[in-house]
Amino acid sequence: MSEETKHFYEDLDMRVSQKFSEDLNILFKPHFSIPPEVDRAIMDRAHQQFTQKHWSHRILRHISIWRIAAAAAVIIFAFSLNLTQKPGPATNQSFLVGARAVDIDRNGRVDILDAFKLARYVESAERTEKKWDVNGDGLVNSNDVDLVASAAVRLDKGVL
């Protein structure tokens, strides 16, 4: 019977004296302590990671990959419907109900390229401007990217 197939349904007999565990611990546990500088080095690294700027960048990177993927899916969907052949009209300032249109690339219209650009800025946390807070929640983040992306597609589709 191989080891992998042999099962022990009855309880294992693990009755050992206390001295057994004590001697094993003496044999296999070092008798020197961890120097405080090692503790400090590890905690310094942790505190460095948890500083506000660094941490928000990591969180953004963690969540924005999904947001970017969603925005990309919207773009692919739009292009697959061949909706971009017709030159888009100048930006309709009312295309976002309760929100502000943002021409990120300053080309005179708000389109999917603006969503892409905004996504890149959010991802890199390179720079953001208050005016890019499309949904007016006080933050410039991937929610704004989603809003610009979906609005741009809706523009192209001519819904609004």
Partner: protein, 185 residues
């Protein structure tokens, strides 16, 4: 957790939840809770103090890199064991201080073996002739204080295999005249 602050009574899950939110104190609490466990294990794998300290730092750096977004699906020791083992073996092979587990065990037990005819030196001698996988499971159970389920998860083997290895290891110790006195009738 008291008003969102770290307490020594917090479970690992609660601490991880706080670290995921960017709480450095919660990470420190996890570190304080497991650093000795990690260090002892690393020392056992490397047989060298400096290497064990390197492994300790690398293990917690690895853990740090898991945040945010880390979720613990088993116990912390089950998560940490394979990490410490992998890093230790890498450090060990890089430094090429040892060539085999038997030599490593000899190195670890050397100061003890110098004690003439002590029961510990005899225990070390019997352990040295156990197959690696049996000795590993035995030490996980009696030194690292891991449950059979935790050992199985940490080694990615069935609980039945853990029981089998432990059974054979204990049986050899029980049958050996040098170590039979450790066992209760």
């Amino acid at each position: 957790m008291i008003n969102g602050r770290v307490s020594i009574m917090d479970s690992d899950q609660e601490l991880i939840e706080l670290v995921n939110k960017g709480d450095a104190d919660a990470f420190e609490a996890i570190y304080r809770r497991y650093r000795d466990w990690v260090y002892h294990l690393a020392w056992r794998f490397t047989g060298n103090r400096q290497d064990a300290l390197d492994v300790l730092q690398e293990t917690f750096t690895y853990l740090l890199g898991k945040f945010p977004g880390f979720s613990l699906t088993a116990s912390m020791t089950t998560f940490l064991y394979p990490v410490v083992k992998h890093i230790s073996l890498t450090v060990r092979s890089k430094n090429r201080r040892f060539t085999g587990d038997e030599e490593l065990l000899g190195e670890i037990a050397a100061p003890i073996l110098k004690e003439s005819h002590s029961s510990r030196s005899e225990l070390a001698a019997v352990l040295a002739i156990l197959p690696d996988e049996q000795r590993e499971v035995l030490l996980m159970r009696f030194v690292d204080d891991m449950s059979l389920q935790e050992i199985a998860a940490a080694l990615s083997i069935p609980v039945g295999t853990v029981k089998s290895r432990l059974h054979h290891a204990l049986q050899k110790l029980r049958d050996d005249r040098r170590t039979k006195d450790y066992f209760l009738e």
